[in-house]
Amino acid sequence: MPTSAIEVHNLTVSYNQRPVLWDVDFTLPEGKLIAIVGPNGSGKTTLLKSIMGLVPLSGGFARLFDQPLADVRSQVSYVPQRESVDWDFPARVKDVVLMGRYRPQNLLRRLTRLDREVADWALEQVRMKEFAQRQISQLSGGQQQRVFIARSLAQQANLYLMDEPFAGVDAASEKAILELLLQLKDRGKTLLIVHHDLNTVRQYFDWVVLMNTRLVAAGPVEEVFTEANLQAAYGGQLTVLAQVADRVQEGGFPVRKKEVKI
């Protein structure tokens, strides 16, 4: 019987007395590739952070594999937004990936040979092995993202929470990352991913969590990713996006990225 990977109950988080998450409630199954989708400022990042215990909760709780985070920490891995760190930090790719092997228990000790082997394996998984000695500031956005994912893989977890792994990455990196996520899913891992590109949700994901401060809907993509739910999550913004899409089609908007279609 499949158990729940993530259970979020009445989760409320506020900042400066303003709610960022309000009474969010859902249960997500194991072994799925799950997107969190919602407009900017809808609390997607905060949701991941509150599940990882990084922000104080005003109410509610999150449980992972039916246990509190503290008991299953070693099974859970978090990939923060790429922009959240200073990439000019003096470190090489290898150094960052090895951080995935740090634990409170081994922090004062040297890393073992196994740790190094796992880090090498993780770099291979994201197809960055030849970059191991490269200074991290000399990577493209997509490569930096892959380094972060490799660091997370080095944790050898069962549940991965990733904040916008596809944001600002080149096509080659997007393809590499997607293939990797699918592989992880095939190995029975659960992946919860903050995603911003509505066009690819159907194509990439099994489940979707639609939100806008409150939960709009959570469930399998074919059931939940509907026009009505998108309207509820994005409200008036969808029409703005549609107008932008029209302008792009008319060729009036100099957008080099993918076309915006909804």
Binding site: K49, M52, G53, L54, A70, R73, V76, S77, Y78, P80, S84, V85, D86, F89, P90, A91, R92, D95, V96, M99, Y102, R103, P104, L107, L108, Q135, S137, Q138, S140, G141, G142, Q143, R151, Q155, D170, A171, A172
Partner: protein, 295 residues
Amino acid sequence: MDAIWIILTGTLVALCCGLLGSFLVLRQMAMVGDAISHAVLPGIVIAFLLAESRDSLPMLIGAAAVGVLVTVLIEWLHRVGRMQADASIGISYTTLFAIGIILISYFTRQVDLDQDCVLYGEIAYVPLDTWILSNGTSLGPRAVWILGGALLLILTFIGMGYKGLQLTTFDASYAATLGISTVFWHYALMSTVSLATVVSFESVGAILVVAFLIVPPATAYLLTDRLPVMLGLSALFGFLSAVLGYGLAVATNGSVAGAMAVAAGFWFILALGIHFIKKRLHAFPARRKLPESYI
């Protein structure tokens, strides 16, 4: 012989400060180092009054505690009082430093400290204050022993805590998700910086400690992209600053600590020049690489 003792003292100060300062620079907390170096003053004065000696262990720890207190105060003003981070720093350390100045001027007769010494230090007098055993053997300047002990402690701290310091500096939230306490490493670093400031203060004074905390690490940061190398280069530039500074002080017959800080600035400018030239040389191939990765 005095010259060697003075250069050795300067080097020890530069090493203690530069190694820890590297982490401050990378954490973008250079000004917190400034704050700590000033805030320890009331701690030092009070410890003087209570212990009636300068080098006792309780005094060092007591004074260092005030340095940690200022970081707590800064955090509190910023988080709870909702002040901007730089304003919190400005409020906390000036207040504590001023309290120290008042204490010195009020207890001027009881305390063997004067305001000039507090501000600028007097490294030139270091060789005079020697540690003499009961049988009359002189073991050299007291300051060298104290600084040497502190350096040993700092080396042990960085050696053992390297991974913790590196990870919490680079990506604190990720560290927290691994179950590693970022608060512990923050205060461990702050306490050690505080201790380094207290032991260095007598030689170089409250104002110049900042130069030793920040300038050699900043110089090293420009020249390398590896953390262990940055720590090594900070130490090297600390040593070079002490040597060049001593020469400069002798040549100008001026303040030794001041000359050492100026020398640190000289090495920094030199490194900045090298950094710019390196950037020029690398700019072209780097630009050529971009289109391949950004489609």
